[in-house]
């Protein structure tokens, strides 16, 4: 089941919100949590029980490890560090086994494994560091598998979710939160099914073209994918945050107008923020701390290594490694630049950052390094000519006109409009917001009812 399916929007989500708050009235709080867990498993499995063992096995294993880590006394207390290291290693191996074994044998890739594995590693570390005082099986299963974020994030920490789940104030339906959640959800849905899927057709046509692209064609394909990915992933995040809000659970933001970034480090503070936080807190900081004497060169090296790992985290393909390495080099150079305190005019800073992001994402999208090099070469040379209409013929004239309209709208929102984070913060129930919400919802539902509606890009990670 996906957020942009009509079944999710009109049946699953309303039924879960209604059922959750109805059961929250019961004396025993466990019923509503069990209901939420069951709903999350139905969402995750998509109706196929065979999809559940990997998630359930991972959650059960980590819950057991956490129980040991949180045991206040006894012999296991002397081996807490060993339990933590074993737990992290087991999670990493578990992730690698499913994510990279595909290079050798054909195995089904479990949905969301990259996300729920990271989340559970964070949980184990938090348990070890005393940031989690106690847990129980039910709370842990709900935390690890909650449907708004189990497949694609945002990556959350225990303390961000479970206290809200156990706060009696959140057990009654809150119309303020439902209204705000609905508003954010509709914005996210529009971003996904109208904007991202419109950009998809241009990106896919460009990246599927068998011959070298022209100069304009290379930029069209690269820019289309950049915006497709952004609207796709940030749209998903908005829908996750919206669904969470309806259940009185505030989830962390994942995007904050990343294309307005004035440096590459600024970009990563705005793009996939929960993943950046994870790697900064749980990998970069420990590496830096482990160094006897921190120098700029060592910090640059640590940044590079972490970014290569982020690239590799996306999948077993050299294109992802190169994507991570490129960002690693850029971030390292950015650190050096800051250290040297060289000035750069804001327009130039924006242009260089944006251009770099677009070029690096070509590696992220391309099927192979050879294809990525070919497209990047077309973006900076005239070997394929200035413009060639052929790659875009398959889109069809009317769809081209419609698509260009939405693309211009999407670009305008990035340059001038408010980000969904700003819209969410500024949300007040009014005739203007309700009219906007109805308009966006109607257009989005028309698009969601079309056959060109696509799955989310990050579902493959």
């Amino acid at each position: 089941m996906t957020f942009n399916s009509l079944g999710y929007m009109f049946l699953f989500l309303p039924a879960v919100v209604a059922g959750y708050f109805l059961l929250s009235r019961a004396a025993d709080r466990r019923w509503s949590k069990l209901f939420l867990l069951a709903a999350s498993l139905v969402f995750y499995s998509g109706g196929r029980v065979a999809n559940l063992p990997v998630l359930v096995g991972s959650v059960a294993g980590n819950c057991l490890l956490a129980t040991w880590l949180l045991t206040p006394a006894g012999p296991i207390q002397r081996h807490r560090r060993a339990v933590l290291v074993t737990g992290i290693a087991a999670n990493v191996l578990f992730l690698c086994a499913f994510k990279y074994a595909g290079l050798l044998v054909h195995i089904a890739f479990p949905l969301g494994i990259s996300f729920f594995t990271i989340q559970q590693i964070m949980f184990l570390v938090d348990c070890y560091e005393g940031l989690v005082e106690d847990h129980n099986w039910l709370d842990y299963f709900v935390f690890a598998g909650l449907f708004p974020y189990v497949t694609m994030g945002p990556i959350v920490r225990w303390k961000q979710v479970v206290p809200q789940l156990n706060d009696p104030k959140g057990w009654r339906i809150d119309s303020d939160n439902v209204a705000a959640g609905l508003y954010v959800f509709v914005i996210g849905l529009f971003k996904k099914v109208v904007l991202a899927d419109s950009f998809f057709r241009w990106a896919d046509a460009g990246f599927s073209y068998a011959h070298p692209l022209s100069l304009a064609g290379g930029w069209i394909a690269a820019l289309a994918f950049t915006f497709q990915l952004y609207f796709d992933f940030s749209g998903y995040t908005d829908m996750a945050i919206g669904a969470g809000l309806m259940l009185n659970i505030k989830l962390p933001q994942n995007f904050n107008a990343p294309f307005r970034a004035l440096s590459i480090s600024d970009f990563w503070r705005r793009w996939h923020m929960t993943l950046t936080n994870f790697f900064t807190t749980y990998m970069y900081t420990p590496i830096i701390r482990s160094m006897a004497r921190i120098t700029t060169a060592k910090a640059m090296l640590a940044t590079f290594v972490v970014m290569v790992i982020i690239g590799f985290w996306h999948g077993a393909n050299w294109t992802f490694v190169v994507f991570g390495a490129l960002h690693g080099v850029a971030l390292a150079l950015n650190q050096l630049w800051k250290k040297l305190k060289w000035p750069m005019p804001a327009p130039l800073a924006w242009l260089s950052t944006f251009t770099f992001v677009v070029v690096a994402l070509v590696f992220f999208r391309a099927a192979s390094l050879a294809q990525a090099w070919q497209i990047v070469a077309s973006m900076f040379s005239l070997r394929g000519g200035l413009f060639n209409y052929e790659p875009w013929i398959g889109i069809g004239r009317v769809d081209q006109v419609l698509g260009i309209g939405w693309i211009l709208f999407g670009l305008a929102t990035q340059v001038r409009g408010k980000s969904s984070l700003e819209l969410q913060r500024a949300f007040r129930p009014s005739w203007a917001t309700v009219t906007a919400a109805v308009a966006l919802a109607v257009v989005a539902c028309i698009y969601a009812n079309g056959v060109v509606s696509r799955s989310f890009v990050y579902r493959d990670f």
């Binding site: 009014s430 005739w431 109805v438 109607v442 009812n449 056959v451 060109v452």
Partner: protein, 323 residues
């Protein structure tokens, strides 16, 4: 405004707008799905695959007594030139057997036809699997509101306003402009011949995908049972291309021929009796597709064949009546 009021207004506004749009689309009914489409005239607007797939649900069964199935090679054959029958050209540009199957299933599931014409071209059986996800039952609901429907409206509007030229008529035929210049056709065909000889062109690829062949067999079997007469034809191949692909074509015809029954009528435009048609470059646009005059010649021949068979059948029936 309170949050509760926001939610109430949203629910009411969203429901009202959606209900209004659905009602409007049901009234306009551009694909002839939600009310009787008898006497309606529905040209293809927007995506050909979507329109012809949706027309196969109601418009074709209610308005036509025959159907033409094929790929782009038969897309410009005008059924108006076929006398005595009202035939819909359900050929799909770039379509393979998998693309024709849902159309055939819909039409034969709704009605029994007087005549089925099947244009057998190697492209139909070259591969299997849907080339697009445009021909699925979900399109039915898309006709109540979807981007594809919006594209069809805009396309229809642009055609009616004369902004663009309508590509298809209400019988599913691809409208061709005037015949291309014979010198251009000759160059195109000569290039194709050269490419085939160098092993670089797909024009000469007569390989058969077994899944596609099985799919073709299913279509032919259904057509045989659900239409009174089935005529299978192999479209003409330009003489210079045919000369270097004669053996491959013969093998292809033999394989496909094994799917045909004794009662099926077969017309092969590549047999010696049609050499004049194949040698005249004016009958072609390129190494594969027929020109307007070529398409007319083919249709005339097919129409004559069916008319002769009908006349013979009528005579047999009349004689049986006299006896």
């Amino acid at each position: 405004m309170t949050s509760k009021r926001f939610l109430a207004v949203f629910a009411a506004g969203f429901s009202a707008v959606c209900a209004g749009l659905i009602a409007l689309n049901m009234v306009l009914d551009p694909y002839g799905l939600f009310r009787s489409s008898r006497t309606r005239s529905l040209p293809v607007y927007g995506e050909e695959r979507i329109a012809k797939y949706l027309y196969s649900m109601r418009y074709i069964p209610e308005n036509f007594d025959g159907i033409l199935l094929g790929s782009s090679v038969s897309d410009n054959l005008d059924p108006r030139q076929f006398h005595g029958y009202r035939i819909y050209n359900a050929s799909i540009n770039g379509g393979n057997v998998e693309d024709l199957r849902p159309i055939a299933e819909n039409v034969y599931g709704k009605s029994e036809l007087k005549l089925t014409l099947v244009c057998i071209h190697r492209y139909l059986t070259l591969d299997h699997g849907n080339k697009t996800d445009l021909m699925t039952p979900r399109q039915y609901w898309g006709a109540l509101g979807s981007p594809q429907l919006l594209a069809a409206y805009l396309s229809g509007l642009a055609i009616r306003r004369g902004v663009v030229h309508g590509e298809y008529d209400d019988m599913g035929t691809l409208r061709e402009s005037a015949d291309p210049d014979s010198a251009v056709v000759r160059r195109t065909i000569d290039k194709a011949v050269g490419d085939i000889q160098r092993g670089q062109a797909s024009v000469g690829n007569y390989s058969i995908d077994p899944v596609a062949l099985a799919g073709l067999n299913r279509i032919l079997t259904t057509a045989r049972h659900r239409s009174r007469r089935m005529l299978v034809f192999y479209p003409p191949i330009p003489a210079s291309v045919f000369a270097i692909r004669r053996a491959e074509f013969a093998r292809y015809r033999e394989t496909v021929g094994s799917l045909l029954g004794p009662g099926d009528v077969v017309v092969d435009f590549n047999d010696p009796s049609h050499s004049g048609l194949r040698e005249d470059l004016l009958n072609f646009q390129d190494a594969v597709h027929l020109s307007k005059s070529g398409a007319a010649a083919v249709m005339s021949e097919l129409s004559g064949t069916v008319a002769a068979l009908d006349a013979r059948s009528s005579a047999v029936v009349a004689r049986a009546g006299e006896n």
